[in-house]
């Protein structure tokens, strides 16, 4: 077990409202992230992802709680913590539109206190990695949306911080660009050089680059687990039965009664039952119900859930 690079303890953010109720955007969140981990931060709109991320990079002062980044207290000594964390924020430009690609990279290195001499080769690498070589001397405002976003990420990387926070990095990018950005991020992650927290509504991005996800809903953590564990967990409980012909009414109503997560569909001459089992023994119950009506089972298989479904279930369905 390595040292955690980032730790949040009982993080809470309440936005005081002059009129109406105060907004509790983040509600007593605690988590820690190990060196070189890549963590996805998921949650529906307004869950508190952006607020959490901005607290981590000192842009928002939390109401309560503690944050440590590489040992530095981000609340008491933000400047110390900022040596170790860089962020690309949601819906922002994050870069200077009137500076060229290279000028932006040099600017943000300088803002971190790194002399150009020292970062020149790093900048070359980043330009290479993000495939911006041809546009090196082009002003950022003339780049495509996807290239601008890649540049924003590169500008955060050039600071050389251990921790990188990305809030919705692929928002508004077309599929191709999203893949390109993902590829670069994966490359970074695989080199094992950075600890990354990335928030996204695009599950495929998270499934693609993150080992672990933290799902938050209404400001609270509802799940914090490895992506592979979640997939396994949900795979184990999701079944699909294919029956010849139709179920009788009695069977259908018993199934509806017993199982909450159930979907019965009747394409052509057979019936499909998709069901979510809470424990292993429930499969016998299904079998019995089917047997009682002399249904002929044509196939049973486990459904392969993807992160998107799992996410929806956790957030909406209240499944554990």
């Amino acid at each position: 077990m390595t040292e955690p690079v980032l730790e949040a303890h009982h993080l809470t953010k309440v936005y005081k409202q002059r009129r109406g109720n105060d907004v509790v955007a983040v509600d007593d969140i605690s988590f820690s992230v190990q060196k070189n981990e890549v963590v996805g931060l998921l949650g529906p709109n307004g869950a508190g992802k952006t607020t959490t991320i901005k607290c981590l990079c000192t842009l928002i002062g939390p109401t309560e709680g503690e944050i440590h980044i590489n040992g530095a207290d981000a609340i008491k000594s933000p400047r110390l913590a900022l040596k170790h964390v860089a962020a690309v924020l949601e819906g922002n430009r994050n870069i200077y539109w009137r500076l060229s690609v290279r000028e932006n990279l040099e600017f943000f290195a300088g803002l971190q206190g790194l002399p150009i001499r020292q970062v020149r080769s790093h900048i070359d690498q980043l330009i290479e990695l993000f495939q911006l070589k041809e546009k090196e001397r082009t002003e950022a405002r003339k780049l495509s949306r996807g290239m601008q976003q890649k540049l924003a990420v590169a500008c955060a990387l050039v600071k050389g911080t251990e921790v990188l926070l990305l809030d919705e990095p692929t928002l508004g990018l077309d599929v191709g660009m999203s893949h390109e950005l993902r590829f670069a991020l994966k490359e970074m992650a695989q080199r094992g050089e950075r600890t990354i927290i990335v928030s996204s509504h695009d599950m495929s991005v998270v499934q693609d680059i993150c080992e672990r996800v933290i799902i938050i809903n209404s400001g609270r953590i509802v799940t914090d687990d490895k992506v592979s564990n979640l997939l396994k967990l949900f795979q184990a409980s999701a079944y699909r039965f294919e029956i010849e012909g139709r179920l009788d009414e009695h069977q259908a109503s018993r199934l509806q009664e017993r199982f909450e997560m159930l979907k019965i569909s009747e394409p052509d001459y057979h019936t499909e039952i998709e069901v979510e089992l809470i424990n292993g023994s429930q499969i016998y119950e299904i079998m019995e119900i089917l047997k009682a009506g002399d249904s002929c089972i044509k196939a049973i298989d486990r459904r392969e859930p993807d992160l998107e479904e799992i996410f929806l279930k956790i957030v909406k369905g209240g499944a554990n």
Binding site: L59, I60, G61, V85, L89, G91, N92, R98, G113, C155
Partner: protein, 258 residues
Amino acid sequence: MRYLVLFKTMLKQEFILMRRYLFNFISGLIAIYIIFLLIFLGARALGGGAPGFGATLDAIVVGFLVWTFALFAYSDMAQGMVREAQEGTLEQLYMSPLGFTRVCLFRIVSSFSITLTFNVVILLLMMATTGRWLHLDVISLLPLILLTLAGVYGIGFIMAGLALVFKRLESFIGILQFAMVGLIVAPIDRFPILRYLPLAEGSRLIRGVMAEGLSIGTLPIGDLLFLAINTAFYFGCGLLVFNLLLKTAKNRGLLGHY
């Protein structure tokens, strides 16, 4: 060392932007020159024949010069920061481990050096137009201009902070730049109380050097001291209030564009 890097970075950014937008830069120059011309011609039409008009003319040139300085100082601070907040680069600046206040100060010094170039050109144009070559005692003028502007920057800091916290104040802040004209021409001789305002005493002393041929050595020590204290007060207060407002903005999550 890291601070030097930061300063060079800010300076370089300002110069790149100026060079890249040379056209804007020059058209700004022309616009200011035209405004000046209108004021100048108007003044001549009104009081051209009167005795002592020459001195008034000098006062106009100097006043206008101080105004352009102050205008750049002020709009750079307040409006520049609001713009960056909207565009989303302010949060990045804020995240510099070298400190946001320092980032702002270095930016001010950088943009001041550009304003200075700009104003030297305007001044030469104005003097050529009026045909009155003012006393350009650089040794006396530079410290006076710096002292005067530092006060304006203090106010700029406060306005920038206010704009971050109360987003709707933006237009008000834009209008306020014209209030500076009042401060520059404030009749301190008749109403000494006006000395306590920012910009007023400084522009009076600059006028003394440029139009009346005084030098920093011949200006009353008391006046210089007063200017220094006045500036220290406004600049210090500006920084203090700015940091308080910044903290408020941070607590309310307003550094970005929520």
